[in-house]
């Protein structure tokens, strides 16, 4: 299975420069148990990958232009300090966002995946945000914004999962697998935030 069709700016999955995650594979195994993430979910995520493969651009556009763009406290994270658009930043990070959908569905959740989860998490904190694309924007994305937006992604993904004529039961199982993966990933994304004041928070 071809994982990545073309070169994506700043996409370093599996690359040597991505440090080993502080989360162990054993901790990940425990987390899967806590979430109730099963082999069934792995199978239905693979099916979701086939269903979503040619829809990722539309889905990310829906999330980014259709939802985030209209919520100023979320939109600012991909804008400059004067709230002006940064089209190139958006374009580059959208490409990675699209690939993340496929990685969620198709990648084995192994050491490389775990490492890149930590890398993605750090790119939302003050440690690494803006660096990959050399932009000036908000210093970090508060963890609450990430946690909250998952609900939006969960609610909006379902019609796309149903767009290729699968049975309602299959769509439901793909959706459950997706939601389970999202919760697993939030727990991983929360790691650097709960380690220390990487994202000074002025709620």
């Amino acid at each position: 299975m071809q994982q990545v069709k073309e070169s994506i700016p700043g996409y370093t999955f599996g690359a040597k420069e991505v440090p080993t995650s502080p989360v162990s594979l054993q901790a990940l195994a425990q987390l899967k148990i806590s979430v109730g993430f099963t082999q069934d979910d792995v199978r239905y995520l693979a099916l979701a990958g086939d269903v979503l493969a040619d829809q990722t651009k539309v889905i990310v556009a829906h999330w980014r232009s259709g939802i985030i763009a209209s919520i100023p406290h979320l939109a600012r994270h991909s804008r400059d300090p004067d709230a002006q658009a940064l089209p190139e930043y958006l374009a580059r990070s959208n490409r990675r966002f699209e690939q993340w959908i496929l990685d969620t569905c198709r990648r084995p959740y192994d050491q490389d995946w775990l490492n890149y989860q930590q890398e993605i998490a750090l790119r939302h904190t003050s440690v690494k945000k803006n660096q990959t694309d050399q932009v000036k924007s908000t210093l970090y994305i508060p963890l609450r914004d990430i946690i909250a937006f998952v609900t939006v992604m969960n609610d909006t993904i379902k019609p796309y999962l149903g767009a290729k004529g699968h049975t309602a039961d299959d769509v439901e199982k793909m959706h459950k697998a997706w939601r389970n993966s999202m919760q697993l990933q939030i727990a991983l994304f929360a790691k650097p935030y709960s380690d220390s004041k990487l994202a000074l928070d002025e709620w």
Copy 2:
């Protein structure tokens, strides 16, 4: 509407000793927007409250005895350091857990609710865990365990929402409202964890 039927040990909702949350009502309003939490969700949560009111004991028993008890890395948080059961601790915290279901459905998400969310969050961290019930148990519950367990609660609550003969559409809307509230609450629970090293984490 009567909010609490009887005295619940350690349940201090609205009490003077609960400090004001560091999260403002304005930040909560933003968070609702990020989650997509609407007035419809408020209405369907109220309906869910009616549906769940006489089922909270069964639901919490399902979560605690049916699921958590069989997962050692979760069960330890309500056991003593030798992994022995603490029946009184469990009984007291189960009562609060049951009331939390009703509060989720029936309370207005106002200043008192916000304050108590922060109190609940702190009671999962090393700042306040075990204090309310004067027990010896794990020093804190890792944020990842809370985030992960929400998926289990979301998946298992649905049959209980459907147990009183509501239409599939109403059950779906109650379930969506429940999930939205859970994500809102996780974002709030994450607050003290992401403030500082309140829960030293050795993943």
